[in-house]
């Protein structure tokens, strides 16, 4: 059956566009069949490119682009970027299907995104959904046994078409209705990227984002351990967007269970953290040059002195007998304290989060 043979209307698909090669190819495969495609991209708060653009000054000179926007432009499609960070908290905190190697709830995440895309599709009168999933490529969400889970639990059912591996899956509605030709879809599987690269070459895609272990900080072991530390310190699994942004900035040291210090590592981070002085107690050394630091948690006078001694360790007066540290409260009140910098031996490795 040829495309659109039963309908006079232009069929429309909404594509989950991450900015990587697979979703780029999936869109192109469907565009080639005469379908109007638009992209949808979700801001969860954990998106790698979302946080990494401009905090560190040394990264300023690196090329900065949002890959999803770039892909959309290459494909000539509209891209709708949705902020789902509030609703996404439940996915991270209570994943029905559990976590992967770190705090990555990949299966729940995929189901959540497909469900959100389905809702958008229905509101905007689109006909079906596509993703760039490849069977067997990811250990949680892209397995033969879990791909149907995503279709079922998202509510998308057979409106969800995966063009890159559709031939390995049951027929979907767009195929049965003849909106797309199943024979022109693909049967990619496994972690081998060569078929995708060959298809990219066929389509003339000379440039695309390289896979780098996922586009989500939750797949990163160091980041996940900081988030786990945050939950442990608070005694509950909660977070705000500022919390999860902060986990990417500075050194994190927890001298006591009820507070930690976030110490800027360079000028860009200092400037970034300065913008948070109304939300955290902040400290900076005044007798010697040094980075700004924030205190996350409830710190009493004794804690602040300990924090000051720790901050002094990271300033140019680390070997001085005394360092003056300015302590600024959230309301702007500030005072100077004199402290002796901690010696390296006084900073246990366990303090580093």
């Amino acid at each position: 059956m040829t495309k659109n043979s039963n309908d006079r209307t232009q069929r429309k698909a909404i594509a989950l566009v991450s900015g990587g090669l697979d979703s780029m190819l999936a869109v192109k495969v469907i565009q080639e069949q005469g379908i109007h495609v638009e992209g949808i991209n979700f801001f969860t708060g954990f998106c790698v490119e979302g946080h990494t653009h401009a905090i560190r000054k040394k990264d300023r000179d690196k090329p900065k682009r949002n890959n999803a926007l770039w892909v959309a432009e290459q494909l000539g499609i509209k891209l709708h970027i949705l902020d789902v960070s509030e609703d996404y908290k439940d996915v991270v905190i209570n994943p029905k299907h559990g976590y992967g190697a770190n705090l990555n709830p990949c299966l729940d995440c995929k189901g959540f995104m497909v469900k959100e895309a389905l809702s958008w599709m229905e509101k905007n009168n689109f006909d079906f959904l596509i993703t760039g999933e490849v069977m067997g490529q990811r250990p949680m969400s892209q397995r033969k046994d879990t791909m149907p889970v995503v279709s079922r639990e998202s509510g998308a059912g057979d409106l969800l078409l995966r063009p890159l591996c559709a031939k390995l899956l049951p027929e979907t509605l767009p195929e049965r209705e003849g909106w797309v030709d199943r024979d022109a879809l693909l049967d990619f599987s496994g972690r081998n990227r060569k078929p995708q690269m060959a298809l990219a070459e066929k389509f003339g895609f000379n440039e695309y984002a390289q896979p780098a272990g996922g586009c989500c900080f939750l797949t990163d072991a160091n980041y996940s351990s900081k988030l786990a530390d945050l939950w442990q310190a608070r005694g509950e699994k909660t977070y705000e967007i500022d919390d999860i942004v902060m986990l990417k900035v500075g050194r994190h040291l927890r001298p006591k269970p009820h507070f930690k210090l976030i110490i800027a590592r360079e000028e860009g981070e200092t400037n970034f953290l300065r913008g948070y002085r109304k939300k955290y107690i902040s400290m900076n050394t005044v007798s010697h040059s040094g980075p700004i630091s924030l205190i996350d948690g409830d710190a009493d006078e004794e804690d602040i002195e300990l924090a000051g001694r720790l901050v002094a360790r990271f300033c140019s007066g680390r070997d001085a007998d005394s360092v003056t540290v300015n302590v600024r409260q959230k309301n702007g009140e500030s005072k100077d304290i004199e402290v002796k910098p901690l010696s390296p031996d006084e900073i246990p490795q366990e303090w580093y989060v």
């Binding site: 801001f43 401009a54 926007l69 432009e73 509209k78 891209l79 709708h80 970027i81 902020d83 913008g275």
Partner: protein, 77 residues
């Protein structure tokens, strides 16, 4: 009427793009918008978003710590 100013300072990409997108949805073709940002990623991202959606960048003023972008809302593609 004076040009609306969107304060997207201290937001990291793609939030400035999302805030711009949401503001433009409530504006008319021909209207202009001034967006204040601190994430230098917007220098690529907001123009890319404008090109995709048929809006026009009028100016980009990049300072050390702040970027101000002015755009004109298009007819929509």
């Amino acid at each position: 009427m004076s040009e609306p100013v969107l304060d997207a300072r201290n937001l990291l990409c793609p939030l400035p793009v999302i805030r711009t997108q949401n503001q433009v949805e409530n504006m008319n073709a021909g209207d202009t918008l001034c967006v204040q940002c601190t994430d230098h990623g917007v220098i690529n991202d907001i123009p890319a978003w404008c090109r995709i959606n048929g809006h026009e960048i009028l100016s980009i003023d990049e300072q050390e710590y702040e970027i101000v972008i002015r755009l004109r809302v298009g007819e929509g593609l």
